[in-house]
Subunit: 446 residues, 2 copies
């Protein structure tokens, strides 16, 4: 295997969790998160730098304490369709919830994006973190963790089944014979599972990459299992080198255990590189950013998000972390459970917990270009990542990485010098899944 790192760009807009101060940055337009031209420019910059994909996250619940980018943002599929016609190679990965969408609708929209982009669509499957989302979809209670992950798996399986509705030779469009469709190449799905009944067929054919690429972001037991079963890309948390190694090895092992080639699941860790002319300058920029973002009220709200948008401000800040175990259990959010455990183990007050929630976003990739390239190489060689999902505060930060670090990675043979393909699968080195009905017919004929 050649050593090769994949890079995706995760546009922050005016700032998500842990980037409370980003909207104040004079280099960030105040309407970035709803400005299609912001995304088109980000995508063009990413494509110019030969990145694999644009990665668009999402959520569907807000209240006024939520991060700026969450309050007012474009819906990922409409956004990525608009970006598609302004790019040619860049993958377009959009987040959509399997908890509050029908698989037929999802399958159709991603297939449509895959055609519009000529084979560059990816679906980042999420189960909706915010418990309040349920109330936007007619349910008083958020679906529980097990149900959500069961739905996620079945959603992907249904979507993949629907994406095979037409075999690749379904449309001869033969004027002489008067045959547009060959009906023997059209297949209903007739799925009846635990969560969904979907007859099909889908009303759209396969695109050049056969099927959109499945991404996932699983950390919990259920999340890792889902990823190992169906994901072809993962947005992983990163964390420390050791925790990233553990995660990476675990995912690859689980994937192999499901009979899949572990090379066919690409682990992207979150990375917000901060590049300076010198290590010291980069450290200074890191401190500046930390200052900008270190807003206590926002941190308290961010903490609350892990407990179902709970308002922690009703508690005494300097008393021990309150008993909110009942909020953590609902929906099985593992993050909330971990916060409680740590608060108990270390005897932290509410204030101390709130002050620490932002720390997890700290990037290992800080320094002069040579330092950052060294660190990336070290992490790659340590078996922590196949790719990095890069997030930058502004275009200057993006530029310093692209101009400073990317050429070093290229020189070391760690990053491409030209696109390998026009599809996301092609650039990620993922196989094009053959249509299941074509395979079945061939095996009958053999």
């Amino acid at each position: 295997m050649s050593r090769r790192i994949h890079l995706a760009l995760h546009p922050y807009g005016v700032g998500g969790p842990g980037q409370h101060g980003l909207w104040k940055d004079p280099l960030v337009a105040k309407n970035a998160s709803i400005d299609v031209n912001y995304y088109i420019e980000q995508a063009k910059a990413a494509e110019h730098a030969l990145f694999d994909a644009l990665f668009v996250v999402d959520s569907q619940f807000i209240n006024s304490t939520y991060p700026s980018h969450y309050l007012n943002r474009l819906e990922p599929l409409t956004l990525l369709s608009a970006v598609a016609t302004h790019t040619k190679h860049l993958g377009l990965v959009g987040t959509a919830s399997s908890t509050y969408n029908s698989p037929f609708n999802l399958a159709r929209r991603f297939a449509s994006l895959d055609h519009i982009s000529a084979g560059r669509a990816g679906w980042n499957v999420v189960t909706s973190f915010d418990t309040g989302t349920s109330r936007n979809y007619g349910l008083d209670e958020h679906l529980d963790y097990t149900t959500r992950y069961g739905r996620a798996l079945e959603s992907v399986q249904v979507a993949q089944g629907l994406w095979d509705s037409y075999e690749d030779d379904a449309f001869p469009a033969d004027v002489e014979r008067g045959v547009f469709l060959d009906p023997s190449r059209l297949h209903a799905l007739d799925h009846a599972g635990e969560h969904f009944k979907v007859a099909g067929p889908l009303n759209i054919s396969r695109s050049p990459q056969g099927q959109p690429v499945i991404f996932q972001a699983g950390v919990s037991e259920e999340g890792r299992d889902l990823a190992a079963r169906v994901a072809e890309g993962i947005y992983a948390p990163g964390g420390t080198l050791e925790s990233a190694q553990e995660y990476y090895a675990d995912i690859k092992k689980r994937t192999a255990a499901y009979g899949r080639d572990p090379e066919h699941i690409k682990v992207f860790i979150h990375g917000g590189p901060i590049v300076g002319a010198t290590d010291e300058e980069a450290r200074r920029r890191e401190r500046e950013i930390f200052e900008e973002d270190n807003d206590f009220a926002s941190n308290l709200a961010l903490l609350g998000r892990s407990f179902g948008a709970y308002d922690f401000s009703v508690h005494d800040l300097d008393a021990p972390f309150p008993d909110v175990a009942h909020l953590a259990e609902k929906g099985g959010r593992t993050g909330a459970g971990k916060i409680i455990e740590r608060a108990k183990a270390e005897g932290l007050t509410l204030r101390q917990v709130a002050e620490s929630v932002n720390a997890f976003r700290r990037s290992p990739f800080v320094g002069a270009p040579e330092t950052v390239a060294d660190t990336i190489e070290k992490w790659y060689d340590a078996g922590t990542l196949d790719g990095i999902n890069l997030a930058f505060r502004n275009n200057d930060d993006l530029g310093r990485f692209v101009d400073g670090v990317v050429p070093l990675l290229q020189k070391r043979g760690l990053f491409r010098t030209e696109y390998e393909a026009d599809t996301l699968r092609g650039n990620l080195g993922l196989p094009v899944p053959e249509n299941r009905h074509t395979v079945a017919r061939r095996s009958v004929n053999d």
Copy 2:
């Protein structure tokens, strides 16, 4: 009032109901219906001709007997987002079913399109004609007619409520005061109705046109009532001059009865103009098209679509029209009821009924440019239309209308010579709805 006709373009792709032969036309690309560039070119041509909007229809159920365009087409919202960034004035009206979508999801996607297009989005609300759609969404039975129309009305009301989540001054983004959002300008909806419970708020702000424009295509009693209540545009069937007059007058009267300005609902009739150098040449082209489309098996399948994709080929073609009343009642499809009535009244065989299903698409606008302009003017003055939803077989047909008829309409003062506005509302002469919360606060302050 100045006399002013609005024009929309309804792209046929490779051919929908009644255009069975269109895919064979050498001027139509075999992949038109899934080629984003086909739509971008159609949109650019429409914008060059100063049309009001691109109008994209939709459906979500197929089998192998369905029209070519239905079998394999892009999803409207992703399609229109891609088109948005290649146009500046053209309205972008997309069809989406209120029967098999959540209003939160719909509100969000159309709001996103409205931002991406800077105020040119329209939602054509449909309730899903094909009974088989239900089986793609987990239901064994199609929701009945009354339920579907009840959902449609409530969906629009919920979406409009969600679109007012933010007042126009909700985001001061004031760096000095450190205020991105003014929380007093953010409003949850807390809707609990017969069909939906939706808490809100929506996570996207209003666009330049305040809210996307609501289109509808109601012919039945329920459809007309829905249109009169909430529609700002209608895709009307047209038919004869007399039936169009009846429909137009009825819609305007019903709209006024709901306390709305009848000028604020624009009736577009379907029109597939056929323009030739002479009347005779146009008639010849009309006959050619009829020949191309007159495929008996396709007509039989098209007939079956009105009865839940029923396979009429199991019946004797030359026996009296079979008793399929039980299929017509299911879901209350009025079209099916009318077919049965007529077959009975006129004593038609199945073959005769199948041969006649295509006739309803016959356009009144056939002839030399002067003749077509005269007919349009006559229909306009007779009170049948505010606009025409134009569909053309291919770009030559489109070109003959744009180059031949449009200048005549302009000369007569019936069509614009430049866009009045950059938004769909602006060009249609529809008011921008003021945010309900802004209105409420002002009335409290008065």
